[in-house]
């Protein structure tokens, strides 16, 4: 106590140098984070501001500086347009189907290749291959596979006596075909992440379950799944956000067709911006898409908080 007081008295005359030192430390800190802040301002905040600003104007692609302020007109027009709601529905269907199937397939594949068997390394490499392929190449391969008149799929089905299907041209099959190609492309990501999570499950837990007479399904439900749950949630969130904003594979396979069935928000943005040359409306759809992504993220954090509380209570 006495020592503290005397020390504080002793340092009192040095207030100015201390302040200078503190300022110098703060300055260094600000200097160090400046590049990161600059990066965020230029590549995140500026486009965000610009997008919001554009959505309140009637700006055209060929005259980006010449748009007039129209207030919320773009928003009200979109809300009353059936095409926007169809586009939103297509986005939700595509996202839900892609996330569900990719997560299920990726998790199943991870469980499969986590077990020791002969040639496991080779199988792992092969199963990772789709994720390493460029999306454009995947889309072109699937265009050939799905070709109605000469594609591998219809020719194979023809051998089985099943008639030709317009995988990319029939409105009944368009979304299915796009989801199938997407899941094939992205499921290895889920697989790799889940494989890492699986390898963190302590071996003793498996042994204990075995001693207790648990079968494979009960072991998975009682031991593996609780360990995987946090990773599954974050993977599902990432897959959802990526699916909402996915463009190339959908555009290259169907261009938003057939009959608008795969015209997701991102495809709609492209069409509005480039075919209709209406940057204002395209930006409005972009802002609404951002709101959708934020909602998904909020739901995720809500679930995450509830699970944390549950765990704390347990």
């Amino acid at each position: 106590m006495v020592t503290t007081v005397s020390r504080s008295h002793a340092t009192a005359p040095d207030t100015a140098p201390r302040r200078r030192r503190r300022w110098r430390n703060s300055f260094t800190a600000y200097l160090l984070i400046a590049p990161a802040v600059g990066y965020l301002v230029v590549l995140l905040l500026f486009p965000l501001f610009r997008g919001i600003q554009l959505s309140l104007t009637d700006t055209k692609l060929v005259n980006p500086a010449g748009g007039d302020f129209v207030g919320a007109e773009n928003y009200t027009n979109l809300m009353s347009s059936g095409q926007f709601w169809n586009s939103l529905l297509a986005t939700l269907i595509y996202t839900a189907a892609t996330v569900v199937f990719a997560v299920l397939l990726g998790t199943a594949a991870a469980v499969f290749i986590n077990r020791p068997f002969r040639g496991r390394a080779g199988i792992r490499a092969v199963m990772t291959f789709p994720y390493a392929m460029p999306t454009v190449a995947v889309a072109l391969v699937y265009v050939w596979i799905y070709n109605q008149s000469g594609g591998v799929l219809n020719n194979s089905l023809g051998v089985l006596g099943i008639g030709q299907t317009g995988w990319l041209t029939d409105p009944q099959w368009g979304m299915f075909s796009v989801v199938l190609a997407t899941v094939w492309k992205v499921f290895p990501f889920v697989m790799l992440v889940m494989l890492a999570a699986l390898q963190s499950v302590p071996e003793e837990l498996y042994e204990a379950a075995k001693i207790d007479g648990a079968g494979p399904m009960s072991t998975f439900r009682a031991i593996v799944l609780p360990h995987l749950a946090p990773t599954l949630r974050i993977v599902a969130l990432l897959m959802t956000i990526w699916s909402i904003r996915r463009f190339e594979i959908i555009y290259l396979l169907t261009g938003g067709g057939p009959v608008e069935r795969t015209n997701t928000l991102v495809i709609n943005i492209y069409r509005r911006a480039f075919s209709d040359q209406d940057l204002g409306v395209a930006a409005t759809i972009g802002v609404l898409g951002l709101v959708l992504s934020i909602l998904v993220t909020l739901v995720f954090f809500g679930v995450e908080r509830r699970e944390s509380r549950k765990e704390a209570a347990a």
Binding site: L45, F46, L48, F49, R50, I52, Q53, L56, K60, L61, V62, N63, P64, A65, G66, F69, V143, Y146, N147, Q148, S149, G150, G151, G166, L168, T169, D170, P171, Y251, L252, L253, T254, G255, G256, G257, P258, V259, E260, R271, F274, S275, D276, Q277
Partner: protein, 421 residues
């Protein structure tokens, strides 16, 4: 109940967003009055054209336009190549941002949009001595010549003679019913019947090609003042298109590059296409010009033409040089240089086909003959909205061919959609 702390947090987040959005509205760009360095000083001249990527013909086209460098040896010419599917979007984005190539070709629909936006340089002073034909007349906007015809390409029915012979067909069909019969006969040999675009993924090319069907039935998309999308003639055109697709002679799923390749490889009997595509079939030597037969479209009325326009960027750094290139292009020398690789198209001046070309490409004469009768793919009175209107039309056509929707109902819906936009 409103949470004060949350409200403050919202305000803290929203205020910079709003301020930033308002500040950004100060950003602007505009065209330049500066003509750049004199022609004699030279410089680098960038010319953009999606046709430069066409196998065989692309190099011939570049060689022809490079002829300008022999007249002006101070110029360095650079070609800018983008595939057709992305060409218009990329160019619009570049020009809108104040950049882009110095000279470029554009479809007439894009010309109307760019002209309205003030992004094209007037060319009146460099075309004074040229003997321009009437194809250039509609490129005058508010009394200023903002572009010249690069080529005006008509559409015709083309047959692969080798495939036709194998199917025992002597002459090209002249009606849709005959076309279906001929397509079915070709299919018996293992080849496909008729190649036409039919997918929304190829919208930019599909809507241009599709005009053949309504125009061939005497239709049009407007009367100059009002849209006439659901007119009986247009409905008849869509019905015939549906009839052909339903007949099974079209290899559904094949995009243009696939069915054009099949035609070159003797795997497709017939194709409805433009003269530019027809010339590209023979450019890489897979088939020769004499393997192709041509005839008018199998309709009662003439079809459409695509006009491709040569224009100068109003924001170019070398505007004087770019305009001088156009002066050379419309001169006798330039037109003669560009005639062979542009084949059977109408050009900016009435430069005839050479005898040598006509002998090598007997199919070309049909295009020359039908071209004067053809109609523009631009919608009269709605020129700058052509692509947007055609989006509604092609969505209706897609419903007809994929869902079996009634053509009259589908076009009525398209009429309502296009009118309300």
């Amino acid at each position: 109940m409103f949470n004060l702390r949350r409200g403050r947090r919202l305000a803290v987040t929203a205020t910079p967003l709003a301020i930033g959005a308002l500040l950004l509205s100060a950003c602007s760009s505009g065209g330049s009055e500066d003509e750049g360095p004199d022609v004699d000083e030279g410089g680098t001249l960038t010319i953009a054209n999606y046709q430069f990527l066409e196998p065989g013909r692309g190099d011939d086209l570049w060689e022809a336009v490079s002829g300008y460098a022999t007249e002006n040896d101070a110029v360095t010419m650079e070609r800018s190549e983008t595939p057709f599917a992305q060409y218009a979007d990329k160019l619009n984005t570049e020009l809108g941002a104040g950049g882009g190539p110095d000279v470029f070709v554009i479809q007439d629909a894009q010309f109307a949009t760019l002209a309205e936006a003030g992004l094209l340089e007037p060319l009146d002073d460099v075309i004074e001595d040229a003997d321009l034909n009437s194809t250039n007349d509609d490129l005058v906007v508010d009394g200023e010549q903002l572009g010249v015809t690069w080529e005006q390409v008509a559409y015709a029915l083309l047959g692969n003679k080798n495939v036709m012979e194998q199917a025992g067909i002597d002459e090209l069909p002249t009606t849709v019913d005959e076309l279906i019969d001929a397509g079915e006969a070709v299919q018996q040999t293992g080849a496909a019947g008729l190649g036409i675009r039919h997918q929304m993924g190829e919208f930019d090319g599909w809507y241009l090609d599709f005009n053949a069907w309504p125009y061939g039935n005497g239709g049009s998309w407007s009367d100059g003042e009002e849209l006439t999308i659901d007119s009986p003639e247009n409905v008849a055109g869509v019905e015939q298109y549906q009839q052909v697709i339903d007949s099974g002679i079209v290899p559904v799923g094949d995009d243009a590059s696939t069915f054009r390749t099949k035609f070159k490889e003797n795997q497709l009997g017939f194709i409805i296409d433009n003269s530019g595509a027809a010339l590209s079939f023979t450019s890489d030597g897979a088939i020769t010009g004499t393997d192709i037969v041509s005839g008018p479209l199998p309709f009662d009325e003439p079809g459409q033409h695509q006009k491709i326009v040569l224009a100068v960027n109003a924001n170019s750094d070398v505007k004087a040089l770019a305009k001088d290139f156009v002066r050379w292009f419309v001169s006798e020398e330039g037109q003669e240089a560009i005639r062979p690789p542009l084949g059977a198209s109408s050009l900016a001046t009435d430069v005839p086909l050479t005898d040598e070309f006509s002998q090598e490409h007997p199919w070309a004469q049909t295009f020359i003959d039908v071209n004067p009768e053809t109609k523009s793919t631009l919608i009269e009175g709605f020129e700058t909205d052509t692509k947007t209107i055609m989006q509604s039309v092609m969505q209706a056509v897609e419903k007809v061919i994929t869902q079996g929707a009634d053509p009259a109902d589908a076009l009525e819906q398209a009429q309502q959609d296009a009118s309300s936009n």
